[in-house]
């Protein structure tokens, strides 16, 4: 079974608030000093799913693709250390600033270039912007089904059976292959890379494909082809006010408190 896993490197979600800064003019998050970026936390779960499916199928290949800066190589290396077979980095100055749709275009081109695939796995969302639309975009562009937010994935008779996480329960659906499935944290803990595998992974070379390798023009990656327009980016101000309720008895204080909470529509 040949599986492609898409992984993304993101700023560490554990970055302390004191180190988190936004450049409002440039509408960009300023990389936090001394806090290296990390693999999007859902992506190792997608890799784990791929490895389990490959093991269950008794063979195949797991290819990892990441679009990002040179440092995104680390996200790929992590998947290789977990046991993935090959890695491809999509890296080009033209990728700077592209939107989710253009990301999906680039990933879809790369997936077509890889050619052989039964299944494409991704994390349910990237924890930086938390939009979770790239899996649908890729599936649409490739003309194949997309099943989102999976907690379990199984291959049955040339199809894929996926248990999806809903707000109030689970839903099991089947889709023909190839398909895109986005994997949720409910899937379970990803494996820790084994030292032996880490050493093997370190020796592997990660291929690098640029925009031209994917047949993407500057125009396709330009402003005009962005669907998402970022109007403003800022850290919300949190204000706190204290009001001491004075009254003769605790009952009276409670009554005033309840009235105030209701007036503020909090209860």
């Amino acid at each position: 079974m040949n599986i492609i896993v898409c992984v993304k490197q993101i700023p560490d979600p554990e970055t302390p608030a004191s180190s988190f800064r936004v450049d409002e003019a440039a509408k960009k998050v300023v990389p936090a000093q001394g806090i290296p970026p990390v693999v999007n936390p859902y992506d190792p779960q997608a890799t784990e799913a791929a490895l389990r499916l490959k093991e269950a199928a008794g063979g195949g290949k797991v290819t990892v693709i990441s679009l990002g800066p040179e440092s995104a190589r680390d996200a790929i290396k992590h998947a290789l250390a977990m046991g993935a077979d090959e890695g491809i980095l999509l890296n080009d100055p033209g990728f700077e600033g592209i939107d989710n749709f253009q990301t999906a275009v680039a990933l879809a081109k790369a997936i077509e270039k890889v050619g052989q695939y039964d299944l494409i796995l991704m994390g349910r969302a990237a924890a930086d912007w938390d939009m979770g639309v790239v899996p649908m975009g890729v599936a649409t562009l490739l003309g194949i089904p997309c099943v989102s937010i999976a907690k379990a994935i199984e291959r049955v008779d040339g199809k894929v059976r996926v248990t999806r996480v809903l707000d109030d329960g689970f839903q099991t659906v089947e889709a023909p292959l190839p398909a895109v499935v986005s994997v949720s944290n409910e899937f379970g803990e990803p494996r820790y890379p084994q030292l032996r595998q880490i050493m093997l992974a370190a020796k592997k070379t990660v291929q690098v494909w640029n925009a031209a390798d994917l047949g993407l023009s500057a125009d396709q990656l330009g402003e005009a082809n962005r669907w998402l327009k970022l109007e403003a980016l800022y850290v919300p101000k949190v204000e706190s006010k204290v009001e001491i309720i004075e009254a003769d008895s605790p009952e009276e204080k409670a009554r005033i408190l309840a009235q105030k909470l209701r007036a503020d529509k909090l209860i």
């Binding site: 004191s18 290396k77 030292l195 880490i198 370190a202």
Partner: protein
């Protein structure tokens, strides 16, 4: 000259860091407060194959060098695990070096794969109440009786003895007065900590409370001759080979704690506002932290150099000693400064820096004291007359 880590070393750094990050400061605070061995942490590193990092592949390990082990233990310490984490792994990562180097084939096959898999814990019993820096004055005796040695004596500070089933034990097989040299006449055993003959009593100590250190009493413990490591009467020399790499690893662990302390101090200095601005804006806060940063960077270079020399089969006595000296001195200083930067909160357990401070303090004493390092350098590097 090449200061870059190899891709493998870089990967080891990242993956060790990622795995260690699964266990946060709250976990270590709890283990320390409860005096509880960090089993979950230990098992995670065992399962991922890290414990056998220095054990040869033919005995189930990864066969890597001290450079790689130093990176592993530095990252473990730097994660906030500090000595509680590093010591939990340290003895398996490197304590068995004398067995690797001098043990019989049978002993190696019996012991090393079990240790690499994390199933066998081995403690290290060298120090005695009246013999710490001066190892040759140990009085624990091993007397041959047929195909066994009978061991009697008292050790102190034996770390992890409560978890371990075996101990690498140094005992006198020839009395000091009968030896030509003071360093002759000692033998290294891989003995069972058999409760019928061995009494273990934990020592209450300043820190690193998740890993016990103990007084251990040996009351005529029989040890089969096949559990002698290397040659009878040559135990001290077998240990010597392992001293330099052990110092390098301890230096790396100290370095890791120093980095953890500095990380916490700078984060706090950025976020704590006093007199209307972040305290980190004052030179009185910045300069000590910048000074510690420079010192830790320098110590790191000495650790890398010493490890590189060792892995390339070159003498590294001076460098290993200097690495341990500088790293433990400067890491303690960094931890002390981190505590100071936290003001009153530095003294509170909740902020962890007091734990780093307590734990890194031991590295100026064990496995060798700073003074004994200076004795070594004065004598062997500066050619001054031996003072003791």
């Amino acid at each position: 000259m090449d200061f870059d880590l190899t891709p493998e070393q870089q990967a080891i750094r990242e993956q060790a860091r990622a795995l260690a990050a699964q266990f946060d400061d709250a976990y270590w605070r709890r283990c320390d407060a409860e005096h509880r061995f960090p089993w979950e942490f230990y098992q995670a590193f065992a399962d991922a194959g890290w414990l056998g990092i220095c054990i040869p592949p033919e005995y189930g390990g990864a066969g890597l060098g001290i450079s790689e082990a130093a990176i592993l233990l530095e990252e473990v310490a730097a994660s906030g695990a500090a000595m509680n984490g590093a010591s939990a792994l340290h003895l398996t990562v490197f304590g068995l070096n004398p067995v690797v180097r001098h043990g019989s084939e049978e002993l190696k096959r019996r012991i090393l794969p079990e240790a690499a898999a994390g199933r066998l814990h081995v403690a290290f019993g060298i120090t005695e109440p009246d013999a710490g820096s001066d190892t040759p004055s140990i009085t624990t005796r091993a007397i041959r009786d047929g195909d066994h040695f009978i061991i009697r004596g008292k050790k102190v500070w034996t770390s992890k003895a409560l978890e371990a089933s075996k101990v690498l034990l140094l005992a006198r097989t020839t009395p000091l007065e009968e030896c030509r040299k003071r360093t002759d006449g000692m033998t290294l055993f891989l003995a069972d900590l058999d409760p019928r003959y061995v009494t273990i009593r934990p020592i209450e100590k300043l820190g690193r409370n998740a890993v016990d250190s103990n007084e251990v009493f040996y009351d005529d413990l029989p040890v089969p001759v096949r559990d002698v490591v290397g040659e009878v009467d040559k135990g001290f020399y077998h240990l010597l080979d392992g001293l330099n790499p052990e110092r390098i690893l301890v230096a790396a662990e100290a370095l890791g704690i120093g980095k953890a302390a500095l990380r916490r101090a700078t984060a706090y200095a950025r976020s704590r506002h006093v007199f209307g601005r972040p305290i980190g804006q004052n030179q009185g806060i910045q300069f000590p932290l910048a000074d510690s940063y420079a010192k830790l960077q320098a110590a790191e270079l000495m650790v890398r150099k010493a490890a590189w020399l060792y892995d390339n089969g070159r003498p590294c006595g001076a460098e290993a000693n200097m690495a341990k000296y500088l790293a433990s001195e400067w890491a303690f200083e960094a931890a002390d400064r981190a505590l100071q930067v936290h003001g009153g909160f530095g003294y509170a357990k909740e902020f962890d820096v007091e734990r780093y401070w307590r734990e890194v303090r031991v590295m100026r004493i064990a496995p060798v004291t700073q003074e004994m390092v200076l004795n070594y350098l004065a004598q062997h590097e500066l050619g001054l007359p031996r003072s003791y």
